[in-house]
């Protein structure tokens, strides 16, 4: 930086440790706050756009099919490769900004056709229709896929053709948490998988997994760390909520009594500017509730609809977590204790 380095390609920024629009939300010490601010300022001084989001694919300008990019942030990497069909390896901290400055990366791995071949097949024939039509399936399925696939490229067979970006986001983020999945294909859904044979590049898979209701229930249950029904808070928006997700949250909040425990929703400042009002909710931007001290003192577990949050928050924050659907999370917030919607998993 002292020598005037600048990024040479368009560069967006992942979350920092501070919500710069709502600085009062930060509950950490002044020294850490100061250092976090310095780090955020340094990235901007390099010429990066202050997008502060883990979901840069929700910004208006985003990479196209086949475009070569260098992204960090495990959920953004898997979304870019899988859903957009752009090409990035898993770039970690440090090399991401180095790539932005020099504008080059090695031509290896997922940048090349042969690195993008599907290797492990997941068949969804055994998954009930009703579950396939509900948001709650996708983080759970992603968690299962990541755990089974590890570092292999998964191919999902049987996802509905109309599966939308928010569901693919939840699936990918979970798979990139429980495994090191950087690319998945979903036959008939994602751009490099018009057929199973295309996704596998005509070669046999290393393994095929039949996804059963029992496997899904086990994955779902392992996302929850406590059976104690006490609830301290609800955390939504990991990865950062989209406009459509915020609209759904607003609609559900409108049908329910005012929350009795704090409800946090993380999103980007860009999405927030386009979002409906969310009365009774603490909206967090530029950061996320599991990377920095934002949650207050908790008298009970934190409930979330995000497998990624459920996966990392116990280690990062020392909290107990309860995983549930968005509706379960908001009903629980209104009741002040964990509430389930039993019909959700009734067929499974």
């Amino acid at each position: 930086m002292a020598e005037g380095a600048r990024v040479s390609v368009p560069t967006t920024l992942n979350v920092g440790s501070l919500d710069l629009l709502h600085p009062e939300r930060y509950r950490g010490g002044p020294e850490t706050r100061e250092r976090a601010k310095r780090l955020m300022d340094a990235y901007v001084a390099l010429g990066c756009r202050p997008t502060w989001t883990c979901a840069p694919y929700q910004l208006s300008a985003r990479p196209e099919l086949g475009e070569q990019i260098a992204w960090a942030e495990s959920n953004a990497i898997v979304f870019a490769n899988s859903v957009l069909g752009a090409r990035t390896n898993r770039y970690g901290d440090f090399v991401d900004v180095a790539a932005a400055i020099v504008g080059r990366v090695p031509d290896t791995g997922l940048h090349r056709n042969e690195g993008r071949r599907g290797e492990i097949v997941f068949r969804l024939d055994g998954v009930p229709e009703r579950l396939l039509a509900d948001d709650v399936l996708y983080p759970v399925l992603g968690y299962l896929v990541g755990h089974e696939a590890g570092a292999l490229v998964p191919v999902l067979v049987g996802l509905p053709v109309e599966t939308g970006e928010d569901r693919l986001k939840a699936l990918g983020a979970a798979a990139a948490s429980s495994g090191s999945v950087a690319l998945f294909h979903a036959v008939g859904v994602t751009p490099e998988a018009s057929t199973l044979e295309d996704a596998l590049h005509g070669l046999p898979p290393a393994r095929t997994v039949e996804v059963t209701p029992a496997l899904l229930r086990r994955a779902r249950d392992s996302l929850t760390t406590t059976e104690d029904g006490r609830l301290g808070a609800v955390s939504l928006g990991t990865p950062h909520a989209s406009v459509a997700e915020l609209e759904r949250i607003a609609a559900l909040l409108g049908e329910l009594p005012r929350p009795r425990v704090p409800v946090y929703v993380s999103t980007s400042r860009d999405v927030l500017a386009r979002a409906p009002a969310l009365p009774g909710v603490e909206v967090v931007v530029d950061t996320c509730t599991y990377v920095t001290p934002i949650l207050g003192r908790l008298d009970g577990a934190v409930m979330t609809d995000s497998a990624k949050w459920a996966y990392y928050a116990p280690g990062n924050l020392g909290v107990e977590v309860v995983f549930g659907s968005l509706e379960e999370c908001l009903r629980s917030a209104a009741a002040g204790g964990v509430r389930r919607v039993p019909e959700l998993w009734a067929d499974a």
Partner: protein, 118 residues
């Protein structure tokens, strides 16, 4: 010589290791609560967060890092964390990929000389 800590599953350093203590804090990991510090960490692959490179480098700075990391599949994010730590702190943390047959022979408690990996 440092002893092997054989992990049954991959580990994400970000969200999975506390750099202040070197302990595994991923509650769902089979070896949760074990300390990685000074041990030869053996696992199938990397996992999870792309910020694991930072956490690994921070472990090196804090003196809580493993003595070496041995993998079955290459992981760029862990290798990167070790390279950056060497540049910043002048301390080497070997990261190596083992052939299947060597990987299969290692057991927790075995003594390994990381010098031969450097």
């Amino acid at each position: 010589m440092p002893e092997v800590l054989m992990l049954d599953e991959p580990l994400s350093f970000w969200g999975g290791v506390d750099p202040a203590t070197g302990r595994i804090v991923d509650r769902r990991h089979p070896q949760c609560r074990e300390r990685v510090t000074g041990r030869v960490l053996v696992m199938p692959s990397g996992r999870g967060s792309s910020s694991s490179s930072t956490v690994l480098a921070e472990c090196v700075r804090a003196g809580t890092a493993p003595a070496a990391i041995l993998l079955r599949h290459a992981d760029e994010i862990l290798a990167l964390g070790a390279l950056v730590a060497e540049e910043l702190y002048g301390r080497t943390l070997p990261v190596a990929v083992l052939p299947d047959e060597d990987y299969g022979e290692l057991r927790t408690g075995d003594e390994v000389d990381p010098g031969c990996l450097g």
